[in-house]
């Protein structure tokens, strides 16, 4: 199927989803306390834009800061863990253990340490996003072909030579695949933390709106989150295809 045709159908599906939602709300006379219609949500978004905007910015800010920290620490940790088969096997159980902790559970600890506000949101975003990065970078490094390792060793390449010339470039497709997942996870982490312990951010906005029974505003927050999430995912997809086109060659040109 051609790219344009697929994009057209995707657009049609999205439009159809909102249209069906609108029709159900109007047709069955659903109360806006239960489920506001898309038109109401958009109206709220426009009307309260100046009130919503600082919260959206705050969430984007904490997410991106947490995400950047996750990339830095994730790559560093991934390089260590992936440096050898042994390191990979030894570290794996601990990594899986940390990765399986529900990240909402760490928010109270961060609040205890740093107080409510921006810092716990950034840190929660970071710890939520870091594990896919660590695991993918480590896997990419640990699965380098043995012949390639031998080839580099017979050239007396140092560990750093091997990492820079073979290991890291080879890991890039894994790394960028993880970034797409990680950026949406960072978002989840930031919003969770804002919901629990902050006076700013979309999470906080939705918390307050729901306690005021301002359901259209809750949904407006949700819509903002979805839009930001899609935008971030799209940005990293484009970067991925630019940087690691060699890994997918012609295939992803068609599927983008």
């Amino acid at each position: 199927m051609s790219k344009i045709r697929r994009q057209f159908l995707s657009g049609l599906l999205i439009a159809g989803f909102f249209l069906a939602w609108q029709l159900i709300c109007v047709g069955f006379g659903v109360s806006d306390i239960v489920l506001p219609s898309p038109s109401q949500i958009v109206a709220t978004l426009v009307h309260d834009f100046t009130a919503i905007w600082p919260h959206a910015f705050q969430t984007l800010y904490t997410t991106m800061l947490g995400f950047v920290l996750a990339i830095v620490s994730g790559v560093a940790l991934g390089v260590v863990v992936g440096s050898s088969r042994v390191a990979y096997d030894v570290a794996n159980p601990l990594l899986v253990g940390f990765a399986s902790i529900p990240k909402v559970a760490v928010v109270p600890i961060f609040v205890l340490w740093f107080g409510a506000g921006t810092v716990p949101a950034v840190l929660t975003a970071m710890v939520t996003a870091v594990f896919p990065i660590v695991v993918n970078v480590a896997t990419g490094l640990a699965t380098t072909e043995p012949e390639l390792e031998d080839f580099m060793k017979t050239l007396h390449a140092t560990r750093l030579d091997r990492l820079v010339n073979v290991g890291l470039p080879r890991t890039m497709p894994y790394f960028f695949a993880s970034l797409k997942v990680a950026v949406t996870l960072a978002f989840v982490g930031a919003v969770i933390s804002e919901t629990v312990a902050s006076n700013r951010g979309i999470g906080n906005l939705m918390m307050i709106a729901s306690s005021n029974f301002d359901v259209p505003l809750v949904f407006a927050g949700l819509l903002i989150l979805a839009l930001l999430g899609v935008a971030l995912y799209a940005v990293f997809s484009v970067i991925e295809s630019r940087v690691t086109g060699w890994a997918t060659r012609g295939i992803d040109l068609a599927s983008l």
Binding site: E145, F151, K153, T154, A157, D161, N165, P169, R170, W246
Partner: protein, 275 residues
């Protein structure tokens, strides 16, 4: 036996090499009582049944594997002690998919001294010319800007040979480099390999399953047996160079491959009985 009169120290010398993994019940002897002398400029082929430790000899000589006992000497010193440039090519070309063919071939120059120190200065000048010259010698002129996935298996293997030779190695290790190619491509690459060897004269250690290939390329063929692996026969090959595919149809050549085949069948049966 080899009649190479080693007037000076041989380039490589394996003396009574034993290589084993594990201990006790699980002890596995890969190589035993292995003796091999390689002189400067030799072209040696290792042939033998699967699992006879052909590739292991390559790994010992290039310092990737340490011997359990015995001596592995390069230039009269223990492997790794004497500085020596090594080139390597495998059955799988292992070119880096994110680099162009030119950058792939240039990789050793980026890493191996003394080229390493000049790399930033020379990569767009002298080194580039050097790579182009190599590429055209193997019939890849003008392909330097392509990526590996744009080339056929035979062309990738040519590029892999260039990468193995670009840093002027004293020792060239070839681990079944033509094993995955079709017959005609393989014969083409034999000619290219012979040409590269005759113009540059590296010392070559070739591992192969193909007796014709061994006879075409090598000065000396070492027949190996398995369980445990060892060299059971060495044979000097005197056919005039440059050899051609026609050479391989001469009666002398046919006798050679016939004898080699018989020798390998005999050692296969012997190791089956031993197991």
């Amino acid at each position: 036996m080899s009649n190479h009169a080693a007037s000076s120290t041989p380039l490589v010398s394996l003396q009574d090499v034993l290589l084993a993994y594990g201990t006790g019940e699980k002890r596995q002897v890969i190589l035993a009582e292995t003796n091999l002398t390689i002189n400067q400029g030799d072209f040696i082929a290792l042939v033998g049944p699967s699992g006879c430790g052909k590739s292991t000899i390559l790994k010992i000589v290039s310092g990737l594997v340490r011997v359990t006992s015995g001596a592995a000497l390069v230039k009269g010193r223990e492997v790794g002690a004497a500085p020596i440039r090594i080139g390597m090519a495998f059955q799988n070309p292992t070119l880096l998919p994110w680099l162009t063919i030119r950058d792939n071939v240039m990789m050793p120059l980026k890493i191996v001294p003394p080229f390493r120190q000049q790399f930033q200065k020379e990569r767009h000048r002298g080194f580039r010319d050097r790579v182009e010259a190599l590429l055209s010698q193997v019939g890849l002129a003008g392909q330097g800007d392509k990526h590996p996935w744009q080339l056929s298996g035979g062309m990738l293997q040519r590029a892999s040979l260039c990468r193995a030779l670009v840093h002027e190695p004293e020792l060239l290790m070839l681990d079944e480099p033509f094993g995955a190619l079709d017959q005609f491509t393989r014969e083409e690459l034999w000619a290219i390999m012979q040409d590269l060897w005759m113009t540059r004269r590296p010392t070559v250690l070739l591992v192969t399953h193909d007796l014709k290939e061994a006879g075409y390329l090598a000065d000396r063929i070492c027949v190996m047996r398995a369980k445990p692996g060892r060299i059971v026969e060495q044979r000097d090959i005197g056919f005039a160079r440059p050899r051609t595919v026609e050479t391989t149809f001469s009666p002398e050549f046919t006798t050679l491959t016939h004898d080699l085949r018989a020798a390998i069948v005999a050692v296969r049966n012997a190791s089956k009985e031993a197991a």
